[in-house]
């Protein structure tokens, strides 16, 4: 950006025309700052401000409530199933799509993106129609003694659906960019498929993979619409943290609701911090990729 600073010093007509004048520049930065501060930062600040507005005692009481604890446990359980499931899928899908050329690849990519295009509430509805009392599968599963809807399995499946594309969408472009020459070299030197993946491919994509997993996890723990439809809102049993926040808020326990919300807000901040750190690292490795 030495060029940009030079612009403001040297008043040379064609030179100045490449960048904006200092006044325009200042105005644009101010608009961006004010907009982001009001739209994005203010809501985040409010979460922590309201969480502690009634003092530390209320904050700790809200977190120590049995209902909060069971909601936290359920949220962790759901993420512990949904994230690894989509991680395995994301790795398999990106290996097939990035390392091989076949017909229908772009159609497959569109299908993988489908859950992004569907409203969370509709995603939940889909599973109600599939497993509900008047569906084909519902009565059959009920006979076998398996309850999917308004129980943990339904919450897990809806969460898997919602977070389905996250790891794959992060890995596929990265693996496509890296090509497959390194893997081909490894295989021609006698390495097996698994060995090639773990020793050649994985080290190249580990940071992208980690970021995909983090995003997937943040969404899995924070999903509201889809889970709300399939959960049945049974306190202490099928309430995840976001659903618990809604109940507290509607019960006029705003400080408690914000205390629980601050847990999820901290998770979001950690996700963003790791992302920013990874990007600083990434930029170097990606630039190195482009150079040769």
């Amino acid at each position: 950006m030495t060029e940009a600073t030079a612009n403001t010093i040297r008043i040379n007509k064609p030179r100045q025309a490449i960048g904006e004048g200092p006044r325009t520049r200042f105005a644009l930065i101010a608009i961006a700052l004010v907009f982001l501060a009001l739209m994005l930062i203010a809501p985040l600040v409010v979460v922590f401000f309201e969480a502690f507005s009634r003092g530390l005692g209320v904050y700790i009481d809200a977190l120590a409530m049995p209902d909060t604890m069971s909601a936290l446990q359920l949220t962790l359980l759901v993420a512990a199933i949904a994230v690894p499931a989509n991680l395995v899928f994301g790795v398999a899908a990106s290996w097939a799509i990035a390392k091989f050329d076949f017909k229908g690849k772009s159609f497959l990519l569109t299908l993988i993106d489908l859950p992004f295009a569907v409203s969370p509430v509709v995603s939940g509805l889909v599973f109600v129609l599939l497993f509900g009392a008047n569906s084909v599968l519902g009565p059959w599963l009920a006979d076998m003694g398996i309850q999917v809807l308004f129980a943990v399995p339904g919450i897990v499946i809806a969460t898997i659906f919602i977070t389905f594309p996250f790891v794959a969408r992060e890995l596929i472009p990265l693996m496509q960019q890296q090509g497959s020459s390194e893997e081909e070299a490894a295989v021609s030197l006698g390495a097996g498929g698994w060995r090639t993946f773990f020793l050649v491919t994985l080290p190249n994509v580990k940071w992208g993979l980690l970021y995909g997993v983090l995003l997937c996890n943040a969404r899995a723990m924070g999903e509201f619409g889809a889970v709300s439809v399939v959960s049945g809102h049974i306190r202490g049993q099928t309430n995840t943290l976001p659903l618990h926040i809604e109940i507290l808020y509607n019960d006029n326990k705003a400080a408690a609701a914000f205390a629980v919300a601050s847990l999820l807000a901290m998770l979001a901040l950690v996700t963003l911090a790791v992302k920013t750190m990874l990007e600083a690292r990434f930029a170097g490795s990606l630039a190195a990729q482009r150079r040769h």
Binding site: M1, Q16, A17, I18, E20, G21, I29, I31, A32, L36, L40, P43, V46, V47, A93, A96, I97, K99, F100, D101, F102, L111, L114, F116, A117, S119, P120, V121, V122, L125, V126, V128, L129, F161, F164, S180, V187, G192, G193, F197, L215, A218, G222, F224, G225, S228, V229, L241, P242, L243, I245, Y249, F258, A261, L264, A265, L267, A268, L272, A273
Partner: protein, 288 residues
């Protein structure tokens, strides 16, 4: 990845040969998992919707309360996507072209709506824009505009959830733009405004359209952040996804299915049109 038989794979003509193993295993797993989690459940919705029959479907689709909720969902999503397009392009421009203290922080903050759960955003926005909240009191006192618990609140929530889509699609394209064309335009005598509108913006147009489309698509389906800031009154601030939830609570599966189908069809149609526009602008302005 021993399950893939290279000899068997080599015979198929629909894919190019490769020395790498694991194609059959990974593609097979991908297709099986995709079908099980996404395709079969969505097919259940399609089948259920098809079994409604035209007269029943039409009766539900023309119900005034449902029409009002769809109008609100799509109208607010378009409005929010427009606001996000204007401010998103400005934010992307500032992040790419200027260096100032705190730029990295600002860049990181753009992703906040991706990472913050919608219920958390919802109660935070509701508190800010409530009539006695800091923003709500200011807007009502100074401009006489009520935002919290009205349909305007819906737009505010959708602006929040949709903003990163515009910034994150425009930003990488802006980074790739060759500064030399701007220099050429300037040396040929074009003013800065003319260079920006005639040289830079056409190249950005496909990315801007994509960002608009993604922001819009996210807004139409959004539920968690909206229900807290809107007061959810029928015909006023009741969004379509909320009406689906209400129908489900009433065990009116036909109604819920019909609304979901209408939402999906309109969304897909609008995304299709925007895809056409993108292809058209790529063709005419010659940028990817």
């Amino acid at each position: 990845m021993t399950a893939a038989a290279p000899d068997g794979a080599r015979r198929t003509s629909w894919r190019r040969r490769s020395v790498l193993p694991g194609f059959n295993l990974t593609l097979g797993y991908t297709l099986a998992y995709l079908s099980l989690i996404v395709l079969i459940p969505l097919a259940a919705l399609a089948i259920r919707s098809a079994s409604l029959g035209w007269t029943e479907f039409w009766a539900i689709a023309t119900d005034p309360r449902i029409v009002a909720s769809l109008q609100l969902s799509f109208g607010a999503a378009i409005l929010a996507a427009l606001v996000n397009t204007v401010f998103g392009v400005i934010v992307a421009w500032v992040l790419v072209r200027y260096r100032f203290p705190g730029r990295r922080w600002l860049d990181a903050a753009v992703d906040l709506p991706f990472a913050l759960p919608t219920a958390v955003a919802g109660i935070a926005l509701a508190t800010l824009y409530a009539p006695n909240g800091p923003f709500g009191a200011f807007l009502e006192g100074v401009f006489g505009v009520k935002v919290g618990f009205t349909s305007l609140g819906v737009v505010v929530a959708l602006i929040f959830v949709g903003l990163p889509f515009v910034v994150r699609t425009v930003q990488p394209v802006l980074e790739e733009i060759d500064r030399e064309t701007e220099e050429v335009s300037a040396t040929l005598g074009a003013g800065r405004l003319r260079t920006v509108t005639r040289v830079i913006m056409p190249g950005l147009l496909p990315a801007i359209l994509t960002g608009f489309a993604l922001s819009f698509a996210r807004g139409v389906g959004e539920y968690g952040s909206v229900i807290f800031i809107a007061n959810n009154l029928p015909f006023q601030s009741e969004i379509a996804p909320l009406l689906i939830v209400i129908k489900l609570e009433e065990h009116n599966y036909a109604g819920a299915t019909a609304i979901a189908t209408i939402m999906l069809v309109i969304s897909f149609a609008m995304l299709f049109v925007i895809n056409l526009l993108q292809a058209w602008s790529r063709k005419w302005f010659g940028h990817d």
